[in-house]
């Protein structure tokens, strides 16, 4: 871009002193033809112009036909209605801010432009500063910069995989569910339930209680059905009757179902598994007096205080398993796609900022350290302010880039969420080439995008003119 190119090409000029500016050869050459008649001079000039035109022609034709003319066409088309026949004034532009889907696109674009460049630049700054200190910094930069090489389409497919809803397949949800289940205990047995012949009954709210109070010395049976074999804990063992336990209560909680049939209801049959981890509470007069969980073979014991209590299997045992976050659902789809963008572009910010860092005056930083500034102070008070121009260039470049984001949204947002993830470039595509195309609106969006980059265009031109004058 503009600023980026400034760092690239123009920085060279700055260091190189005066350059051949005005017509490098015109003056130096004329002495060799001293005494040339006026006619010859005009002839030379004409020939030069013709030569230049020949060199420029292919470029100017292509630019004129495929870049300049389309701008004019789009501007003009944006003032006409869908059919293109009647003048519509500013109607198409009004539509941009009244139509619900397009308004979503404008709003999302705003979020994109504010969030994505800021996050990518912040990460780039952190990475650039930290990698300065490590020997394998170059390897790290390679890794983070690598996504810049691949297409947005490939990145889109990569992140469709990452964001897959099923925690068994999408890595984002696998991690999220893992973290969630570490803090909120996972419920082991969704949809497990007793049969009517079992000594358990529903107690409201999804919990089950024993039909009768339990007595010390009488083994308690807590049979349930309805757990698919795949959902049983991997380390559950065949259930067995409890060992008698002195004055306490003991019993077995097991899956009262024999695969392939042959089991008797309400009895612990040889192949039936213990409900490992099932939570059991002893309730007396509405208060929990003791609680425990079943072991791998389904056995459990409760202290003597539970004698005469009812055993309750709290509802937390049976809650639906936590299934992670709908990354690509209506609410998170835009942040999720911004995440993939940051993955691609943080490396860009990092490399530019690292180049800026390398150009900082070392002695200033060292002087601050010698004066007792800690690393944070040096970073906050010296490095960042000195990097200001570079950070600005990176931010502006990314903003321009983000304005036109299309592929990532088009690929990552599933069809059902495309309205929620809509952005201007996507809406332009839909308005121009979709099923109910309205070229008037499509052109208005194109013009809006162009207007948004005009300030940068102006800055570019100003800088070039300043250089030309030098």
């Amino acid at each position: 871009m503009t600023g980026t190119r400034k760092t690239a090409a123009d920085a060279r000029h700055d260091t190189e002193g005066p350059r051949p500016r005005s017509g490098p050869r015109s003056r130096t050459r004329s002495p060799s033809r001293s005494g040339a008649r006026t006619g010859a001079r005009t002839g030379t000039r004409t020939r030069r112009t013709v030569t230049a035109a020949a060199f420029l022609l292919p470029a100017l034709v292509l630019l004129g036909a495929l870049v300049v003319y389309p701008i004019g066409y789009s501007v003009q088309r944006s003032f006409f209605d869908r059919s293109g026949e009647s003048f519509a004034g500013l109607d198409n532009y009004v539509t941009l801010f009244t139509d619900d889907t397009i308004r979503t696109a404008v709003r999302n674009n705003l979020i994109w432009v504010v969030v994505a460049p800021a996050v990518a630049t912040a990460l780039g700054l952190i990475f650039a500063v930290l990698t300065e200190r490590v020997r394998w910094g170059t390897a790290f930069k390679l890794v983070v910069f690598m996504p810049m090489a691949i297409s947005m389409l490939a990145a889109g497919i990569i992140f469709r995989l990452v964001y897959e809803q099923d925690p068994d397949r999408g890595v984002a949800n696998a991690v999220w569910v893992g973290v969630h289940d570490t803090f909120a205990e996972s419920s082991g047995f969704p949809r497990a339930r007793p049969l009517p012949v079992h000594p358990l009954e529903a107690a409201g709210g999804g919990a089950y209680v024993t039909k009768a109070p339990v007595r010390a010395g009488e083994p308690v049976a807590l049979p349930l059905i309805g757990v698919p074999p795949a959902r049983m804990p991997g380390d559950a063992r065949p259930a067995r009757a409890p060992a008698a336990s002195g004055g306490g209560i003991s019993g077995t909680a097991w899956l009262d179902f024999t695969r392939g049939g042959g089991g008797k209801p309400n009895a612990v049959d040889p192949k039936e598994l213990g409900l490992k981890g099932l939570r059991i509470e002893a309730v007396k007069d509405g208060e929990v007096v003791a609680r425990t969980t079943a072991g791998a073979d389904g056995t459990f014991t409760l202290p003597a205080v539970a004698d005469g209590a009812v055993l309750r299997l709290p509802a937390s045992n049976f809650r639906e398993q936590y299934n992670g976050v709908a990354w690509l659902g209506p609410h998170l789809v835009t942040p999720a796609i911004i995440g993939s963008y940051v993955w691609m572009w943080a490396g860009f910010a990092m490399v530019l900022i690292a180049a800026g860092l390398a150009g900082l005056p070392r002695d200033v930083l060292e002087a601050a350290r010698v004066d007792g500034a800690n690393e944070w102070q040096v970073f906050r008070r010296i490095t960042v302010p000195l990097l200001g121009p570079v950070l600005g260039v990176v931010l502006v470049t990314l903003m321009i880039n983000v304005l036109k984001v299309f592929d990532l949204v088009f690929i990552i947002a599933p069809g059902s969420a495309q309205d929620d993830a809509n952005v201007l470039a996507l809406q332009l595509y839909r308005s121009s080439f979709g099923t109910d195309a309205d070229l008037g609106v499509g052109s208005a969006i194109a013009v809006l995008l162009l207007l948004l980059v005009l300030p940068v265009m102006a800055v570019n031109i100003r800088r070039m003119r300043r250089e030309n004058r030098r």
């Binding site: 789009s74 170059t138 890794v143 810049m148 993955w343």
Partner: protein, 317 residues
């Protein structure tokens, strides 16, 4: 300009200002002036260890999505449907090249790879050729309004391609090259030109005038001057430009989506059509995406320096 390690600006006549400072390891360890001895040193070492750990984690985090794609592409459809790619770490026997074999036997995909090449190579060469003609004219030829023309080109640097999609599709339709490879190539060339001209003009302008003068005194014409003196000296800039444009066109989806022949779309469009049924065809999408990434990744690792300077300079497009 910018690159990962060495930071030598490409320019004819060497680069006295090459900054070794960009090499992170080349700087002396920073002086620790804390007088309070062991405790401070321990704290500093702990902080530095924490920082290293953080960077390692970040690097792994950054690699994970790509690794996920690669491993997914190496698993059978039924494995993909039933579990995540990380299962491979406990069951390496799942790995299979089956998907790649199917992919390469799939004419639609191999055909689309050929289309990608047929679009990318001409679009890159044309931009280099036309761009260096114009860049040379702007740098060394004298003609009326030169600076104004150049400003116009600079102004076009940031024009979004979106502005041209509808008008150019109408135009191509009128000329009869809508949905043809030629159309895609021309579109990419046109939108690659402002940057190409800008970059090459600035680069060519750095060529010492004495070289050109000497050639002219020897009687070389403009064409000869251009091909024998300017182009060879412009090598590094042409390389950066070529790599940037190559990757830009190779990775493009939007332009091809609209202008390419629907019968022989490039790989990005072919894969995009598959995305609509995402979930049932990861066994096609994952290896397809990986194959489409291979060339860019090779270019990236082989030409890091030119790649970085090209991408950095052309990022606004």
């Amino acid at each position: 300009m910018t690159s990962f390690a060495s930071d030598k600006a490409d320019r004819p006549g060497g680069d006295p200002a090459a900054r070794p400072a960009a090499e992170p390891s080349a700087r002396p360890a920073r002086a620790r002036t804390s007088p309070s001895g062991t405790a401070a040193r321990l704290a500093a070492r702990a902080a530095s260890g924490g920082m290293r750990l953080f960077l390692v984690l970040v690097a792994l985090f950054w690699l994970m999505p790509t690794v996920g794609l690669l491993l997914s592409s190496l698993r059978s459809p039924s494995d993909i449907a039933s579990s995540g790619w990380w299962q491979v770490f406990t069951a390496p026997a799942q790995l299979t090249t089956e998907n790649y074999r199917d992919l390469l036997a799939n004419d639609a995909i191999t055909g689309s790879l050929v289309s990608t090449v047929l679009i990318t190579v001409p679009a890159t060469l044309l931009v280099i050729v036309i761009g260096s003609f114009a860049g040379y004219a702007f740098a060394w030829l004298d003609f009326p309004g030169r600076d104004w023309w150049f400003l116009l080109v600079v102004a076009l640097l940031v024009v979004p391609v979106q502005v041209a999609l509808v008008p150019v599709s109408k135009l191509f339709g009128a000329v009869g090259i809508f949905e043809t490879t030629l159309g895609v190539v021309l579109f990419h060339t046109a939108f690659g030109l402002p940057f190409a001209i800008f970059l090459l003009r600035n680069f060519f302008a750095e060529i010492p005038r004495e070289l050109l003068e000497a050639a002219r005194l020897d009687g070389a014409g403009e064409i000869r001057l251009f091909t024998r003196v300017v182009l060879p000296l412009g090598g590094p800039a042409v390389a950066s430009l070529g790599i940037f444009q190559f990757l830009w066109v190779w990775n493009d989806m939007l332009v091809a989506l609209i202008f390419a022949d629907a019968q022989s779309p490039p790989i990005t469009v072919a894969l995009q059509q598959q995305v609509r049924q995402f979930g049932n065809n990861v066994d096609v999408l994952a290896p397809g995406a990986f194959v489409s990434m291979l060339i860019p990744l090779l270019v990236f690792f082989a030409f890091q320096r030119q790649f970085v300077s090209g991408v950095m300079a052309g990022a606004v497009k």
